[in-house]
């Protein structure tokens, strides 16, 4: 095939016009995967036969006159989201060989719309990480610099989309796991408002924070994908009943006269100068488009890291107690039940997951609950209030996504605190439950390499439409840049 469409909307146009069939498109993507994977290693499972069967079904539906925004479009899914008929490992040995007996609501919705699932994409184990280096199944390589990490935990989806191994993908964002890899791979990543998208069938990490988000090549695709997966789900009582807007019809309008806040606390000491420069340039571009940008303060930003790591690990320690070697997944087969629990979990979980289970168990344990967990929940209230206050004056915030560009594989900071500070700029919005859209903002030089850098727009709860409108306007300045 001479030209492979790289966006959902472009693929739909070609499919609708009859220029290609979904089977042809899917075959082309499978070929592309076979060609790229030795370098990228984004996929943990490629569903060749299944995806082609879905594509044939999509072609039949199109022949019958159906036309939905995702009909026949090949997508990838982070391997922490259950797809019927495919394995689901969450990047963990403890789920090796697990085949979920049910499907995530987001996947069911996409399937009903006729999307094609190419396979499952790499993730840090249970979405705990920044790089996919914590995956039990190997690291994914950044398509922009193969010796560097793609970011994480949704590093597989980000790399696959960036390398053209999927038109778009679903990731998950607990503390920045969609936005940070998007920003490190020159792709678009949305963390929706907490409660906008169903978590049913998504392997749980931290239930008060987990959200599924689209990872795409442009803003229009992000809008199309969110519209397809969002909405109330009777199987997830934390989903909003509010109707889902037609986001893709609300992209135009620009940012003239819009008010943006630039949080001064987001320019941290350890920030790479290139990241700071890219953010300042993004602000200048917004102003050129007629937006008003003013410095604002989110005074509790610095507490985001400890609050997040106490709350998320506490929730994780409870969620991950289900891996007991009895009902599914790896079992150590020890002859004593208690011993089997401990050995199964001790061997099945990787080092970062065990570290977080221990931290969360400690934060919840008798004598420390008030000083750590309850205190963190109270400071979380203050972090939310910071956002409420600035959104009284601003339509959205503009901020950097990650303080540094992607690092070389194996060269992560060894100090756990320095490591946890890598997502300091994405944690507060996750804790507040507000939506945030990460977009490409150019490239930075680092040690001779030219590396992607992103910028994020943070919006009011349930106001993804405004983020898409901003994103579309901003993205057009990328195209001419």
């Amino acid at each position: 095939m001479s030209h492979l469409p790289q966006t959902i909307h472009e693929a739909r146009r070609l499919l609708r016009s009859g220029a290609m069939t979904s089977v042809e498109l899917t075959e082309a993507y499978l070929e592309r995967i076979a060609w790229m994977e030795p370098d990228i290693r984004a996929y943990l499972h490629v569903a060749e036969a299944q995806s082609l069967a879905q594509a044939r079904l999509a072609d039949e539906r199109m022949a019958a006159g159906q036309d939905t925004p995702l009909l026949g479009v090949p997508l990838g899914v982070k391997d922490i989201i259950n797809v019927q008929g495919m394995p689901a490992t969450a990047g963990s040995r403890i789920l090796e060989g697990f085949r979920p007996p049910y499907e995530a609501t987001v996947v069911r919705k996409l399937r009903e719309q006729g999307a094609v699932f190419l396979g499952k994409l790499n993730t840090d184990e249970f979405a705990m990480g920044w790089s996919t280096e914590n995956s039990a199944y190997g690291v994914t390589h950044n398509p922009w610099a193969l010796d560097r990490v793609p970011g994480g935990s949704s590093g597989g989806p980000a790399a696959a989309v960036a390398a053209g191994e999927a038109i778009a993908a679903l990731g998950t964002d607990t503390g920045g796991s969609v936005r940070q890899p998007a920003s490190w791979t020159n792709t678009v990543g949305l963390r929706p408002t907490y409660g906008r998208v169903s978590r049913y069938g998504v392997i749980a990490f931290a239930s008060s924070l987990d959200q599924v988000g689209p990872m795409t090549r442009d803003v229009r695709d992000s809008a199309l994908l969110l519209e397809a997966i969002a909405g109330h789900d009777p199987k997830d009582s934390t989903t909003f009943p509010d109707a889902v807007p037609h986001y893709a019809d609300m992209l135009d309008g620009g940012v003239r006269g819009m008010r943006f806040g630039l949080p001064r606390e987001y320019f941290t000491e350890r920030m790479h100068p290139g990241v700071e420069r890219a953010t300042r340039e993004a602000v200048a571009r917004l102003r050129d488009l007629g937006a008003i940008v003013e410095e604002v303060s989110l005074p509790h930003t610095g507490y985001g890291m400890p609050v997040y790591y106490l709350i998320a690990t506490a929730e994780a320690s409870a969620n991950l107690s289900r891996y007991d070697g009895v009902r599914y997944g790896y079992s150590a087969q020890a002859p004593d039940l208690q011993e089997n629990y401990k050995l199964t979990r001790g061997r099945g979980f990787g080092p970062e997951v065990k570290r977080r289970i221990l931290l969360g168990t400690y934060a919840l344990s008798a004598g420390y609950y008030d000083a750590y967990y309850l205190k963190a929940q109270k400071v979380r209230t203050l972090i939310r209030a910071d956002f409420d206050a600035v959104f009284e004056r601003c339509d959205a915030l503009i901020a950097p996504v990650a303080p540094i560009p992607p690092y070389r594989i194996g060269e992560a900071p060894t100090d756990p605190v320095a490591l946890y500070l890598l997502d300091v700029l994405t944690l507060p919005s996750a804790l507040a439950g507000v939506p945030a859209l990460a977009l490409p903002a150019g490239f930075v030089e680092d040690d001779g390499a030219k590396l992607p850098v992103g910028v994020q727009f943070i919006g009011r709860p349930l106001d993804e439409a405004t983020l898409f409108r901003i994103g579309r306007a901003f993205e057009q300045t990328n195209e001419v840049a």
Binding site: P101, P234, Y328, L337, K342, L358, K375, Y420
Partner: protein, 192 residues
């Protein structure tokens, strides 16, 4: 040096007390409190030993529940401590987590860890908790905790029978099953 701070409920936190500091604290408190209240202190001390990071908030509940401190006695204790010149804690000097404590947490979390893992996690968790202690600098008086960012509400549904997983599907991933059940090793000693 004794470190104490009042929390939003007016209860005292004593954070940076290793064993040496605890005994020093008890001596200091003995000096401060009247002779007639020595018995309170003895009970108090009993609760106090064995904690590394200790909160009176918990201690007060435990003391009240377990060692029969009258509310008035507790109130006295608190007011005495409050009126004395304790320093705001220096959380940077908190004791490190010991390997024994990590072993205990691992036991709670049902994780078998090697000696090397225990050593490494003791050092990792100490560093993270040290960093997390900056939260104690935030004034959270009268602040409600956020468990969920959603507006609190009960979500109800009709109590109707709906299709669920078939037993075969539920058991399909089990390491061992028998006659429609998950199979585990004997839980109780002497059972088959």
């Amino acid at each position: 040096m004794i470190s104490a701070v009042l929390d939003c409920e007016g209860l005292l936190y004593f954070m940076p007390l290793d064993c040496r500091r605890q005994s020093h604290f008890i001596q200091e408190l003995s000096r401060l409190l009247s002779k007639s209240r020595k018995d309170i202190l003895r009970k108090f001390k009993r609760q106090f030993d064995g904690f590394h990071a200790f909160t009176l908030h918990h201690a007060s509940n435990q003391i009240y529940n377990q060692t029969n401190f009258a509310p008035t006695e507790l109130a006295f204790l608190k007011s005495e401590i409050r009126n004395s010149n304790f320093e705001i804690p220096n959380f940077a000097t908190m004791p490190k987590l010991t390997p024994e404590e990590v072993q205990h947490i691992a036991e709670l979390a049902k994780l078998a860890l090697s000696e090397e893992e225990i050593e490494r996690y003791a050092s990792d968790l100490s560093a993270i908790l040290d960093y997390a202690r900056q939260l104690q600098n935030v004034d959270t008086d009268h602040i409600h905790p956020t468990a969920s960012v959603l507006p609190l509400r009960n979500v109800m549904r009709l109590d109707e029978v709906r299709p669920g997983l078939e037993p075969e599907a539920a058991l399909a991933n089990a390491p061992a099953s028998e006659k429609g059940y998950f199979r585990v090793h004997a839980v109780l000693e002497g059972s088959q």
